[in-house]
Subunit: 410 residues, 2 copies
């Protein structure tokens, strides 16, 4: 088969056949990350480019035991079709955990099990975004969300992310001037920046949204990975009927099972369930049962403590290497949790040039510009610390520093 | 939480909060099937309403062995993030099986692993359907496809399904008059009708489409469940660059793992991969690995033979009971495979009335009208035979027959 030859917007040609695709496809960015990850499959490369959990912190043996137990005691049911909403005891577990961790009252009826939290974004896009509808996002914003929402052809409005959260003046201004369907954000250890909204900023954002019809989509993929163990409030505490939370087992259990969930007020949940059913009937039921069995038989808090301790140490090593090796003109965030550090190079330095030069030194980093819906960020990098050992972090950051120094001097 | 009070098109109210949903949601039918399945959860009810495989034909022990083996030998990888396209050896297996079963040349690069074949329909909708684009479907047509495509707001054109396949004159007429993006059909043991396109009709349909830009979406969920063991050709044999095939492990392995796939020419596959990545990154990788391990260690042909023999017998029992108990004015299909028989009542008899009366006799059937995109079918029923024992089939059909007789005499 030959490679496709682009012949114009939305059309491709192969063996003479032209295909016409829906306009939305031309608006959906291909994942630059995905292309980079292909480059970094080479085992000689130290990769800070991806967003993978540490494989050493996947509790394989106990997940295997949970799988064996589910299949032995209820295999015929666990392998059969199931309900769109998901396994109710798992939804109850998630609801109970919100109560315990954040003091939030959540009913299992307000929870839908999804294929990782990425699918929540697809379902939210389906339910809320008509072509040309207005959506606000952090700047920089999570690339997966930009991709998921782009399929529904919204008009994006960036809201600058400061060290303590989104700019409240810009958010208020945007909401005043446009009928913004929702503001999407990651209050805890944001991807890509590592920033956590302060407690004050959360209240302020809630106060701004409360006066509007704009919803808050609270992507909480990293909420359990806060290194000091102290959780800041969800916006659901302040504006419950305006907040949709997305959650994930990918960072605390295992990403390969694609287990996530969305929490939404009942009238919204009703629509999300219709969208979910049309999209893929229901999420993998076997994996839902395995996840629940694991959560019943193992202490997830102990496991999360291990993850936190390890990632916290990896972050500390990386930050101290950055402080030691990077030129003073390079800025970087000090994330309270999650998996990423955000690096800002001097304005004259191109992160694409740094990427190219670093790959030659067998170090992969992620240029930050794809995270900017309105362009910019050409001097930024997202650096992952969760998927590299202490030794690789030291070696990789030292090499990266010398690449950056050379670029600064050009 | 109180139940939502509808306040107008696309709006719901709860505790004073109004929500505005995207216009597509108002166009997407809620699943009547889903509502019915809730009614039929009562174990006293004999249900012919669903579309579930026989639980006795899910090979739980060997799937459990495959799961244990994958987790023991490669757990850290099987539980980690993976590629959007899916596990390559599994895609190679699927490609090889097309060669063996249908003589089709398919490259693994043309295969994407999905969450059951339902997700293929969502991805195809994303890639091809812009608002108001034209889509043709069989009449009656698969409800899951109606739901999936509706989210992208097409204009549907029904093409009447005869005993040997879709009406060629109507299809040609539709394609001549509208720029139809694709014609969606299920050539083997269609859901809901049980109809299989004849060999001649397949060639004829391909000939009609070949002269147009219209693609054929060949949903082949039941292709392996043909009771005589003889496969009729895929339209990919005739119009390879115009055919997209969707496949599923749900009917031959286990539906709970939500494993399906889509086969498409490379320029289309490129777009499907972008859509898949935006939708949920990739399908459950653990289940992909389990499925592949199972297929490597077990003989799937032997297993499929068992399924065919059992479903064929269940069909025969049901057909003979229908012949014995149904009034002569009731017509029914004689499917060559799959899981469904399609029943046409006299025009004066309402299948909703039959549904209501049958439930009181602890028998559940599925009224056929939701399968008609343009209304109609009010005297039709879809009857599933794969999920009931011989004894339940006899009891259920006898009870259903007496309900139908009463309705005929009213």
């Amino acid at each position: 088969m030959s490679q496709p030859i682009p012949t114009g917007p939305g059309q491709h040609q192969v063996t003479g056949r032209k295909y016409t695709f829906a306009p939305r496809m031309a608006k959906t960015p291909k994942s630059f990350i995905r292309e980079i990850l292909k480059v970094t499959e080479d085992p000689r490369i130290i990769s800070f480019a991806g967003g993978l959990p540490s494989p050493a912190l996947i509790d394989v043996d106990n997940i295997a035991a949970a799988a064996a137990s589910v299949l032995a005691k209820d295999g015929q049911v666990a392998l059969q079709y199931s309900t769109t909403e998901g396994y109710r005891p798992l939804r109850q577990f998630i609801a109970d955990r919100y109560k315990k961790r954040l003091g939030l009252e959540v009913s299992p009826d307000e929870i839908l099990i999804t294929n990782g939290s990425q699918q929540c974004l697809d379902l939210i896009g389906k339910v809320f975004i008509g072509t040309g509808d207005h959506v606000a996002m952090e700047r920089p914003g999570y690339l997966g969300a930009i991709q998921a929402f782009s399929l529904f052809e919204p008009i994006f409005h960036p809201v600058i992310l400061h060290e303590d959260g989104p700019d409240p003046v810009q958010l208020a201004h945007t909401i005043r001037n446009y009928p913004v369907r929702f503001f999407y954000g990651i209050p805890n250890s944001q991807n890509p920046s590592g920033i956590t909204y302060s407690a004050e900023r959360r209240m302020e954002i809630a106060g701004i949204l409360e006066k509007s019809e704009t919803l808050f989509i609270e992507d909480d993929a990293y909420g359990e990975l806060n290194f000091n163990g102290k959780s800041l409030p969800s916006l659901r505490q302040y504006i419950p009927d305006q907040t949709i939370i997305t959650g994930s087992f990918s960072k605390i259990l295992a990403p390969g099972m694609r287990m996530g969930w969305v929490v939404a007020p009942l009238p919204i949940m009703e629509q999300l369930v219709v969208a979910k059913q049309a999209s893929d009937l229901h999420s993998n039921y076997l994996s839902q049962r395995i996840a629940f069995e694991y959560l019943q038989t193992q202490n997830i808090d102990t496991h999360i403590e291990k993850i936190r301790a390890s990632y916290c140490h990896q972050r500390d090593v990386m930050l101290s290497c950055m402080a030691e090796f990077f030129p003073d003109t390079v800025l970087f965030t000090r994330p309270q949790g999650g998996m990423f550090i955000w690096v800002t190079l001097p304005e004259s330095v191109s992160s694409m040039a740094v990427f190219d030069a670093a790959i030659k030194e067998n170090v992969a980093v992620l240029p930050g510009s794809p995270f900017y819906i309105d362009g910019g960020g050409n001097n930024t990098l997202r650096i992952n610390f969760s998927n590299s050992t202490e030794e690789k972090i030291r070696t990789g950051i030292e090499r990266l520093a010398s690449v950056i120094k050379k670029q600064c001097n050009q």
